[in-house]
């Protein structure tokens, strides 16, 4: 298992918050590549997730703004009710188009655009959830030569999303949440 280069992008839905908190805590105080987190949640007070995670994370966390340059040692949270897209020039775009898989942000959109922008230097990680989101995105990551990591459905809080992705897209690694920091 080797450390990630380029960009790390993490998608999660129901039951993934604890996994993300564990994962972030495991990063300790070392240098990490840029990390984008796309998490389904109820629309509502926007910034609370970024605030919560910044308390738990040793790496600075910010809610992504449109045109943000993607920089290492920074964790970007997709804002509620916008899709987050990764541009070829390694900046972030936001988009308020139709929901996909009943979701905005959509994990598929973020994974697909990140795959095109980062190619082989992308690591995409899909966590717990009760939705089919993420599977199409992971296929794109594979097609562009990136690395696919799926949370072990057996230990994920909700197995459906990682299981679905594992069956339809496949993974380079299947890991428990506490093992994921080792590959970032």
């Amino acid at each position: 298992m080797s450390a990630a280069k380029g960009l790390v992008i993490i998608g999660g839905s129901a039951g993934s918050l604890d996994a993300i908190i564990q994962l972030l805590a495991g990063l300790k105080n070392r240098h990490v590549p840029p990390i984008i987190i796309v998490l389904h949640r109820k629309t509502g007070d926007d910034s609370t997730l970024a605030e919560l995670l910044s308390i738990k994370s040793p790496v600075p966390v910010k809610e992504a703004d449109e045109k943000d340059p993607i920089r290492s040692d920074t964790i970007y949270i997709a804002p509620a009710d916008y899709h987050l897209l990764v541009e070829q020039d390694h900046t972030i775009s936001l988009d308020y188009s139709e929901k996909i898989n009943y979701s905005r942000p959509s994990i598929d959109i973020s994974f697909q655009t990140a795959a095109e922008a980062y190619g082989k230097s992308l690591t995409a990680i899909l966590l717990s959830g009760a939705n089919a989101d993420g599977t199409e995105g992971l296929k794109a990551v594979k097609a562009c030569g990136g690395r696919v990591i799926i949370q072990n459905p057996a230990t994920a809080e909700v197995a459906y999303m990682p299981q679905h992705a594992l069956e339809k897209a496949g993974a380079d690694l299947v890991l428990n949440a506490n093992e994921i920091p080792m590959v970032i």
């Binding site: 916008y82 541009e87 988009d95």
Partner: protein, 273 residues
């Protein structure tokens, strides 16, 4: 890296066609979103090849309308971000109310949900009689729908909740009548609305306004185009006029920023110079 049917080169070709044949310039739109929407449409309309799509866009003006409408994002709702509308009610409208006449520009209004929201606010503030709402968009099709004041009845529950959160005190359903699966908004609301096509990329200022509302439009533009549009808005605003943007958009880094002052943490700026 490209796994999509319509690749980056194809998109440059299409954008060139749009500019040369029709005068639509999408070169300064954010690339990732544009590419996704063009590929989405390619699948939706079942084109056998990129060449076929290009041919249709070049030669069929009816299809062009659909093409422009589908590659731009036309998702909007009433009273989106209720806290924003609360600030309009409590801070902006009382100030505008001191003027003899109020001109408001909804730039990129899409199907008009925000324009109707504003008309409701103006009625409730007793300012409607002296207001005019200019609603513009690049797509003639969405403007036609907006002018009819017809919206899906199934969305009314959500709109009503946001209306109440924004400080609305009335029964929201008093603003429309149900007509099968559509809600028809009272025609009085649209009596003060003027709908017109306007392209923020290429068209100039056409009036002076006390309030410009342009929410979730600039996120699709690159920085250079954003800068141009901010200049256009500055020119189109009266001194002490207001500019309102979407919840993830900011004037902060633009060259006109020194001439504006932000109202608290809402995305509303007031022109000070």
């Amino acid at each position: 890296m490209d796994f999509q049917a319509v690749n980056d080169d194809n998109i440059s070709i299409l954008l060139n066609d749009l500019l040369e044949i029709y005068g639509y310039d999408f070169n300064e739109y954010s690339k990732a979103s544009l590419k996704r929407r063009i590929n989405r449409l390619f699948t939706l309309d079942k084109f056998p090849s990129f060449a076929e799509m290009r041919y249709t866009v070049r030669t069929n003006p009816e299809y062009l309308k659909r093409f422009i409408e589908e590659i731009t994002v036309n998702v909007t709702e009433m009273f989106r971000d209720p806290s924003f509308y609360r600030v309009l009610r409590e801070t902006v409208l009382p100030t505008l109310g001191t003027y003899p006449f109020i001109r408001i520009w909804h730039a990129g209004c899409s199907t008009g949900e925000e324009v109707y929201s504003m008309a409701i606010l103006l009625q409730e503030a007793n300012l409607f009689h002296k207001s005019l709402l200019y609603a513009t968009d690049i797509n003639p099709g969405v403007l036609e729908r907006a002018s009819k004041g017809l919206f899906p009845l199934s969305h009314m529950k959500g709109h009503s909740e946001k209306y109440i959160q924004s400080g609305g005190k009335k029964d929201f359903s008093s603003y429309y009548s149900a007509n099968y699966d559509l809600a028809k908004f009272n025609s009085e609301l649209s009596s003060k609305m003027i709908f017109s096509t306007h392209n923020l990329v290429s068209d100039h200022s056409f009036n002076e306004f006390q309030l410009i509302i342009c929410r979730n439009v600039l996120i699709y533009f690159d920085k250079d185009l954003q800068a141009k549009v901010f200049k256009l808005f500055e020119q189109s605003l009266d001194n002490l006029g207001y500019l309102a943007l979407g919840s993830k958009e900011t004037l902060r880094f633009s060259s006109v920023a020194p001439n504006f002052k932000q109202l608290g943490k809402e995305k509303i700026w007031r022109k000070m110079a």
